[in-house]
């Protein structure tokens, strides 16, 4: 039907599926009856006005909160009840809207902390460092520096994370999350506070990650970024699903324009 649709040849494999998720905070229905299916290797964007429940949905998917109702399956695995740290080992990683770096640690140490689940050190060598310990340290260090290179922060490796500029901190959070070697990376407003050039660089990096096979969940207010990158877009309002579709469909949808794109689109 749609001649522009690029890769609809074979049915995409769902990596993450959520079914009728609900989360209330006291009287606030932050997430209500949200279902979604995210295909492997795609960018899935979640948009909506402030307070729509986007971050809460991300917190449900990453395990910071447990849902009041609903199901979450990741590569066939039931995630409900699984604490956040256990989900990481299965390949979920995330960044935070309100930046949560280890401010007193160096930029490099922040990324190294992301290697927590990926060390291969015989237990006794934690007490007495040997050859295997040093090999592991070299491997993680090289990997961490590569990730810093990827986000353009290699020259800042030695400074405390807290002393980075705001935009750099957002990039460091991405590098740190990537250190866990995720299959699914969830980023919560990565472009907030970034200038035009930084947004353009961020866009290239996210596209690059998708090419490497990382599935992306993108919560973002910057419509240029969303419309350029997203394969699918979920529009939320008041905790509910307003619409879901491809970028072109979202831009054409009258309710979405009214609720969210508003004056900007008109």
């Amino acid at each position: 039907m749609n001649p522009a649709a690029p890769k609809q040849a074979d049915p995409p494999t769902p990596l993450l599926e959520a079914h009728r998720l609900c989360k209330n905070f006291g009287g606030v229905r932050a997430v209500q009856d949200i279902s979604l299916t995210i295909s492997a290797g795609t960018v899935f964007a979640i948009i909506g006005p402030n307070g729509a429940g986007k971050s809460t949905l991300l917190n449900l998917l990453s395990g910071v909160y447990q849902p009041d109702a609903g199901e979450i399956r990741f590569a066939g695995l039931d995630l409900v009840g699984l604490p956040a740290h256990r989900r990481v080992r299965h390949g979920l990683a995330r960044t935070f809207q309100k930046i949560r770096l280890f401010k007193q640690l160096s930029v490099l140490e922040n990324v190294l902390a992301g290697y927590h689940t990926r060390h291969s050190i015989p237990p006794l060598q934690y007490l007495l460092h040997g050859a295997a310990f040093r090999a592991d340290a070299r491997r993680c260090r090289a990997g961490a520096l590569d990730l810093l290179e990827f986000v353009g922060l290699a020259h800042r490796a030695a400074v405390p994370a807290g002393s980075l500029a705001y935009g750099e901190q957002r990039l460091l959070e991405i590098a740190r999350a990537l250190a866990t070697s995720p299959r699914l990376l969830m980023v919560d407003e990565p472009a907030a506070g970034l200038n035009g050039a930084e947004v353009a660089a961020l866009l290239r990096r996210i596209a690059n990650l998708r090419e490497r096979g990382v599935t992306i969940v993108l919560v973002e207010h910057n419509m240029d970024l969303v419309m350029t990158l997203a394969d699918r877009i979920l529009v939320m309002d008041y905790g509910e699903r307003l619409f879901e579709g491809a970028p072109g469909e979202v831009q054409a949808h009258p309710e979405v324009i009214a609720a969210y794109l508003g004056a900007e689109a008109l």
Partner: protein
């Protein structure tokens, strides 16, 4: 470039040199300190270092304030002594059990306090210290309460074939035993904090939610740090009993926890070497001030207050600042 990629192998070699220097100092100390009064003080120093580095592991690295150190110290002392006296266990078996019991108590406390953070965990551990003190004081059939347990024997004499016997009634030998043990614990802790375990604990200290997003199981690692910390205190207690020869509950009153905390803060928490200096300073300095009586407590209080106000990084930070002044362009590390 050397700043962003300091050679890990060189650092690890440098650490080993420091371990060696420390071993030489331990070996040499009794040669210069010959009277029994000061040798006893040296042993007390070694035990306080053990208590302080144990506390620093959980406080300075994992960021959890453990005010129960006096209780774990007492648990180690009483349980090892009672196992020898009442069950006739050999000293070293009692030592192992006493140390493990203190460690297990620490892990349990942390496990139950897992939802508590910051002040609440501190208060829970303080409550634990009060409870243990009250038990030591009031379970008279077991601990003899305030009357105390007397005549505790030193660790058994060691005899290697063809070598002279090593008796631990001799203060020099007891110093080598306690200081040697403390040095080994120091090395093990130092290796751990300079491994991914150190990264994990500091990540929890800095932001537990963030740490969880990297796969770090906060409650598990906090319990681990607590167990290590309290086991170190337990081991110190196992040595304390034969050193003093007498056990009374007052030796493990809650104020002891604050003494140990003072050592860590004055020395500089979050570095293992800081609490060593703090423990030495706050053990030896008061000996010079004995004539002042309770003024000693004021010295403690004043030094902690001054450290917190003017030098939150403690002696270690003061040392770094001094080095910066003296050698402005000389990069450290």
């Amino acid at each position: 470039m050397s700043k962003t990629s300091p050679n890990a192998a060189a650092q690890s070699r440098e650490r080993r040199v420091w371990y060696l220097i420390a071993a030489v100092i331990v070996a040499a100390l009794p040669l210069f300190v010959t009277d029994s009064y000061w040798r006893t003080n040296l042993i007390v120093c070694a035990l306080n270092i053990l208590l302080a580095i144990g506390l620093d592991f959980v406080l300075g690295y994992a960021g959890q304030l453990n005010l129960g150190q006096s209780a774990f110290y007492g648990l180690g002392a009483y349980s090892s002594t009672l196992l020898v006296l009442k069950l006739g266990l050999p000293f070293w078996a009692a030592f192992a059990i006493g140390t493990l019991m203190a460690g297990a108590a620490g892990a349990l406390l942390s496990f139950f306090a897992v939802r508590l953070r910051g002040h609440y965990l501190a208060i829970a551990s303080l409550g634990f210290a009060v409870i243990i003190y009250q038990i030591l004081l009031n379970w008279i059939s077991l601990t003899q309460g305030p009357l105390g347990i007397y005549g505790i024997a030193p660790p058994p004499t060691v005899a290697f074939p063809g070598l002279p016997q090593i008796a631990f009634g001799d203060l020099r030998n007891l110093f080598y035993l306690t200081a040697g043990f403390t040095l080994i614990v120091y090395v093990l802790l130092d290796q751990m904090v300079h491994s991914p375990i150190g990264e994990t604990l500091t990540a929890i200290r800095e932001d537990e939610v963030s740490a969880a997003s990297l796969g770090i199981d906060g409650p598990k690692w906090k319990a681990f740090a607590f167990a290590v910390s309290s086991a170190a205190a337990g081991a110190a207690g196992c040595f304390y009993a034969p050193l003093v020869g007498t056990l009374v509950p007052d030796a493990f009153f809650v104020s002891e926890s604050f003494m140990i905390l003072a050592m860590v803060i004055v020395g500089g928490m979050g570095t293992l070497v800081g609490p060593v200096f703090g423990a030495v300073l706050l053990t030896i300095l008061p000996e010079f001030l004995r004539s002042l009586g309770d003024m000693r407590l004021i010295i403690y209080g004043a030094s902690v207050t001054l450290a917190v106000l003017f030098m939150p990084g403690g002696i270690v930070e003061a040392f770094h600042l001094l080095r910066h002044r003296l050698f402005p362009e000389g990069e450290m590390r």
